[in-house]
């Protein structure tokens, strides 16, 4: 069972029902659940979208797109049915927040899905969980069945004339399916390859109908925004970055865990105070701020860094999925870079050549390099390959592989050079033999 952590600096909004037994629908109602949905049902779509815009809630999946704005793009009139699609394919290495949401607060996901449906005029919502999350899917399925039994879902929700249905769906192992267009392909029973954009899903999405796709954390945040009021929610965070965020802090810290902190919270404090600092009395070497696809930051870069989309972007990285991976001074960055690119090489769907070939060549090159068979020009070559993947693919997986690679090479060039001329890696014991 995933351990829950607590820290006095936390501001519990999305996680306030964690550990409170809220997966039980009666307990959830007792804790104030489903009031937000009733309020939205009474207020209507325009009000909901305005509230979401006021809240300055931004997508928690990684891109940070303003949720209210996304919802407002869905056309009011549509010949085809509209859909809400909840992305619970949580697969970005370093990220495990949705895991806890599904485990502890499945009804918040249901409520958020209904509210999104009310806002855009959809009658059906799909909640897609990665295949590995089977026990969480079962919790979600039970929650959905309970909501149907209470009349919160169905032809006439809460006794109104409004219909809303929810369907839960399992994936079967694929990082790429976390990309919104690939997610739609998977839900339509196909290989999870991305679609070209435009058209955007808000216009032509699932089954050709206008579709809003939100990350599970974004959706679970929605009922809290409604319940506490959009202005109050926005006031917690930093400018244009409303509310709190579930930060998954992992790696070499004393107390890893999922902590809910206000947007804009200082990264250094997050590591040293909230997560208890670097374990074993070691020192910080580097930190990946927002999941494996975000460029690495050095200790001096996090001194005054507030963790919101704008500030981390300005620092040359991304807030991404909020997965903070902390790396100590006993870690080989070349090995870390190799493990990162190996993941993207494995997960590239092969649809776009720069990503399919680029990830493979960088992996081969780094494997050889880490094993001590690298030559000086490999360093530039790795950088060249990564630069040529950027922006040349249908979906962001190519960029997600290239960006961290560029970060490692640029910021730790000396460590790459130290691996040259047959010198063994000073840190790692897991040296693979060259594959080419």
């Amino acid at each position: 069972m995933p351990r829950l952590v607590f820290h006095p600096e936390e501001v519990k909004v999305v996680s306030k029902r964690f550990g409170e037994g809220a997966a039980n629908i009666d307990r959830y109602i007792e804790l104030g659940g489903y009031e937000a949905t009733k309020k939205c049902l009474a207020q209507g779509p325009e009000w909901i979208i305005e509230e979401m815009k006021t809240s300055s809630l931004r997508g928690r999946g990684g891109a940070g797109f303003p949720t209210g704005l996304k919802w407002s793009f869905v056309p009011k009139q549509s010949a085809k049915p509209k859909y809400v699609l909840v992305n619970g394919d949580e697969s970005e290495p370093g990220t495990c927040k949705d895991h806890l949401i599904f485990l502890h607060d499945p009804h918040a996901v249901i409520e958020g899905t209904i509210i999104a449906g009310l806002a855009i005029g959809a009658k059906v919502g799909f909640i897609y969980l990665r295949g590995e999350y089977r026990y969480l899917l079962e919790i979600m399925e039970k929650a959905v069945a309970d909501a149907y039994a209470k009349g919160f879902l169905g032809k006439k929700i809460f006794g109104s004339d409004t219909e809303f249905q929810i369907v839960t769906q399992t994936g079967a192992g694929a990082y790429e399916v976390g990309e919104e267009s690939a997610l739609m392909e998977s839900l339509e029973g196909k290989r999870g390859v991305p679609r070209i954009k435009p058209p955007f899903p808000a216009v032509v999405g699932l089954y050709g109908g206008p579709t809003v796709i939100n990350n599970a954390e974004t959706i679970a945040t929605v009922p809290h925004v409604i319940a506490m009021g959009a202005a109050a929610f926005a006031a917690i965070g930093s400018p244009r970055n409303g509310g709190t965020r579930l930060f998954s802090i992992s790696g070499h810290v004393q107390r890893p865990g999922v902590y809910e902190l206000p947007m804009g919270y200082n990264l250094k404090k997050m590591i040293y105070e909230v997560a208890g600092g670097i374990r074993g009395g070691r020192t910080l070497k580097a930190v990946v701020p927002g999941g494996s696809s975000t460029p690495v930051l050095l200790p001096e870069e996090i001194e005054n860094l507030g963790m919101d989309f704008d500030q981390v972007g300005k620092a040359g990285s991304m807030l991404g999925s909020g997965g903070v991976v902390v790396i100590d001074d006993q870690t080989c960055i070349v090995e870390f870079a190799l493990r990162t690119i190996s993941f993207y090489q494995h997960e590239s769907c092969g649809w776009c050549i720069p990503c399919r070939e680029g990830t493979d060549w960088i992996k081969k090159s780094l494997t050889r390099f880490h094993a001590g068979y690298g030559v000086a020009k490999d360093i530039d070559n790795i950088q060249y390959l990564a630069e040529n993947m950027m922006g040349r693919t249908f979906c962001p997986l190519g960029d997600a592989a290239a960006m961290p690679t560029l970060g490692f090479v640029k910021k730790f060039r000396k460590e790459f050079e130290d691996h040259l001329n047959g010198k063994p890696c000073p840190f790692a014991k897991h040296v693979e033999l060259a594959v080419i």
Binding site: P93, G189, I327, H346
Partner: protein, 178 residues
Amino acid sequence: MSPEQTSPDTMSIFSPALAARFDALVEKYPLRRSAVVPMLLYAQDEIGYLSDAVIAEIADRIGITELDVRNVASYYSMLRFKPAGKYNVQVCTNISCMLRGAYDLYERFQEELGIGHKGVTADGLFSLEEVECIGACCWAPAIQVNYEFHDELTADHVPGILASYRGRAKAEGKAPHA
């Protein structure tokens, strides 16, 4: 063959429960083929892997070609075309787990089981896989045995974990292949 013999009802390799699950699932979507991915996984859970017969039955029930089903199935990493062990041990070695000793854990599993990546023990009880991130980064290193998570592990936990599954298999009183 007469049409009666080829209908899914008489030729089905799905259990009645799995067939009922399929029938309920397929009604939920605007398009039948949306059931392909979940059905492949649920059928694999029951039968152990995606045999030719499973592919054929899913194709038939959905109304698409077997080639189309294979094309979809080959994309997803959890789906397999060969049997795995009764207990499939999946060790995450991605970054967060790697930083906290996942490779020591993985090596210990290899030693204890005497198999490598995607290997199956001779008795068919265990198989081993090195897998990508399983979404347990804050409780690293973590593994999944079939769908069960085990987290915050060290290599010393390995014999105990394997013993508990051996015990479970014994308690079920079935041969691993049954």
